[in-house]
Amino acid sequence: MFFLALVMVVMPEDGQTPLRRSFVPEILVRAKVTDVTSHGQNWETATLVIDHVFAGTAKLTGTRFRVTAPVVMPFRSGVYGHSLLARFQVGEFGVWVLRRAKADQGLFGGLECHPPVEDCPEYWWRYGGPAPLPARRVISSREGMIATGRFSYDSVLKWAQVVQAISQAARERQPELLKKYSHGGDPLIEPWAIRVLARTDPLAPAFLKELAENAKLTIPGQVTLDSVLCEVIKKDWQDSALRLRLLQGWISGELGDDYSARWISDRLRAALRDRELDIRTWLRLVMGWITNQSMSKSFRFQLLNVSPFEDLRGTKKQNEEQYVFDVLIQLIRKNAGTEVKLAAAQLLFSVSWNDSRLRTVRALLKETLEEEVRTELRAVLNVAEQANADK
């Protein structure tokens, strides 16, 4: 009941979501599959009965709902987020978010938010990667392959229990609990609590700024914090020294796992796209990261796989392009490491071309000794010359 009140408070009157990636489930349950029907070769409909309510009215216990979905078949690509990696099975447990159909108010369990996936709050609460809900107690891995970043049933269950603890707390205690969970050390719960706190507590920004200095916060928590503060207090956070310290912590070379690296990579790309990070700072950060930490080629490629000038126009675009171009040339020219030079060469693909820039890169090619960098520069020149000729 209290949680419903929280939902009412946080849903703005005009239906717009103030923090587009916060997620407060109206109905969150644990349910058991009681019946499975197959349709054709690869579609299944499961009937589930609710055996525990984490959020929503307790009266839902014992209520049934249905889910229909295709099963991933060998040699047939599934629709990401829509297909079942493991078939439904009678007796299977899962944590589900339920919604009510507009037509008849009947309950249904969604496997995904569609369309589009990016607007799905379940998806965004953890900043990209596979959506944690529904969390079915099944074995999803293919032979020996476990998807990176997929949360186990047990970890989602833990999060659901936190949702319940907050929903059952008195309304005035809820912010206090959210604060507690926002730095509890759980990579799934921290980002969720931070987002909900920012959405529900007007005093949250001051608390979150303090949190930014907490070195024990998980990387998912830190990334979420940055994203939330960019949305809530905008420029005051974006240009602050505190934020810069937080971001520099990510690129210091101290990261000890791939999973955290992926959160940061996603965050840097999204912040650039959403203009929460200017091109110059972004460039310093990514090049700093590549300087400070060794990374695989595939990771580096994804990190730099951006179009930084796409939304810029006129003089602003010219200035920024020229700035980035000059920095990249400097990085290749001076005695930076091979990785940095390769990264700079990769970013050259994103600038637009004129005769002067072409000349500069041709001269650079003559000066460069490392074969790998030369190969990359030749590829840049091929594309640039073609683009210039087309123009």
Partner: protein
């Protein structure tokens, strides 16, 4: 003299032998920082590291230098020897096992080949199926390469290395007490290692301690599968048919596994136990059937779970008995199971057996009775497999 030195010296020569209680005790385990990296050519690197911290080995190692020779991963280079998916870089920190060059006696950082499953790095974490050393503080990949499970992070390996350091520094009695704590500390790298080390050290009261552990439902699954493996090696008669073991294995198949990594480890343990005859078909087939009944899993996960173990290596009388049991169990599943996957499992078990004439007749009648085309195909293939095996035997 510390406990770890005694253990290291006594067990290293035996580490790679089959049927040993395998454990990895690094003689020299250090944290090092790269101070010089040379790109030999496009794909080869040679780096010099300085030891910043010693987890095991003499304290005099601190400040010494060691070298690493490595091949970077490249699609143009065949994966021979040592591969890096992230280049060595100046300033890079990592946890390394060291050894000495046979001739010059200079210190070297070891990188085991990922293909060498007998390498030291695998031994204590065999169910993880990933080499965990060296643990470099680098970013390996955005997406894990196909066919792999996530690498242990640098931070996770550092925790384990710290545990090694604590055990190394402790005396004999204190060391054993510490290992008993570590064997149930909730860390999926440390628990298996501590359990194996206790077993290797033949600690007093080991059997009862491990049986208590096996009954401790808070132990990680990584710890549970290791406890089972160790008990099956150290006390085969007492453990293999014990009620505690049955209960432990039932807990793996009751449908409550909520983590893919746990599932992969359980599968690896089952297959190993079958291969080492630590699990017979009388226990295995009901376990597998229960697992398949209680838990849903993705296509591909069941691949290899059709194995019924090396029946051919049994004495003839026992082999015939077990083969007949497999056929009877399979027929029961094919005719009575409601779940189609279980029927398929039953049919696949028949591939493991050279069927007798009577058994062939049974399978033929099953083919006639079934109306499922997939199942008929599998049963026909099982018959062909028998024909093929008989023909090979004739030629031999």
């Amino acid at each position: 003299m510390t406990l770890a030195i005694i253990i290291a010296l006594s067990c290293l020569p035996e580490l790679l032998q089959e049927n040993q209680v395998s454990v990895f005790v690094p003689e020299m385990l250090v944290r090092g920082r790269a101070v010089e990296v040379m790109q030999v050519d496009t794909t080869h690197q040679r780096a010099t590291f300085v030891v910043e911290h010693v987890y095991s080995g003499g304290a005099e190692l601190a400040g010494q230098r060691f070298t690493v020779a490595a091949t970077q991963f490249s699609q143009k280079v065949s994966p021979i020897g040592v591969l890096l998916d992230a280049r060595l870089k100046n300033g890079e920190v990592g946890i390394w096992v060291l050894d000495r060059d046979g001739t010059s006696r200079q210190l070297r950082g070891r990188i085991e080949s990922p293909a060498d499953k007998d390498s030291l790095a695998y031994v204590c974490w065999r169910y993880r199926q990933q080499p965990v050393l060296p643990a470099r503080r680098v970013i390996h990949s955005l997406y894990q390469p196909a066919g792999s499970i996530p690498l242990a992070s640098y931070d996770a390996v550092r925790k384990w290395a710290e545990a090694v350091g604590r055990v190394y520094a402790a005396g004999q009695d204190k060391g054993i007490r510490l290992l008993r704590e570590l064997a149930q500390n909730g860390d999926l790298l440390i628990e298996p290692w501590a359990i194996r080390l206790l077993a290797r050290n033949r600690a007093e009261g080991l059997g009862s301690f491990l049986e208590e552990l096996a009954a401790n439902d808070k132990l990680t699954v990584a710890g549970q599968v290791t406890a089972d493996a160790v008990l099956a090696e150290t006390n085969p008669k007492g453990w293999q048919k014990s009620k505690t073991r049955q209960k432990l294995m039932q807990s793996w198949v009751n449908g409550k596994l909520g983590d893919d990594l746990d599932a992969v480890q359980v599968k690896a343990r089952f297959l190993e136990a079958l291969a080492k005859k630590q699990l017979d078909v009388y226990d295995w087939l009901p376990l597998l059937t229960a697992w398949r009944t209680n838990q849903s899993w993705s296509g591909g996960f069941d691949w290899m779970l059709q194995s019924v173990g090396p029946l051919n290596e049994l004495p003839p009388q026992e082999r015939d008995k077990q083969q007949q049991y497999v056929v009877d169990f399979a027929v029961q599943q094919i005719t009575q199971a409601k779940n189609h996957d279980l029927k398929q499992f039953g049919a696949r078990w028949l591939f493991s057996i050279v069927l007798t004439d009577a058994q062939i007749a049974t399978v033929r009648s099953l083919i006639k009775e079934t109306d499922n085309e997939d199942l008929r195909d599998t049963l026909r293939a099982a018959l062909k497999s028998t024909e093929r095996q008989k023909s090979i035997s004739k030629h031999e």
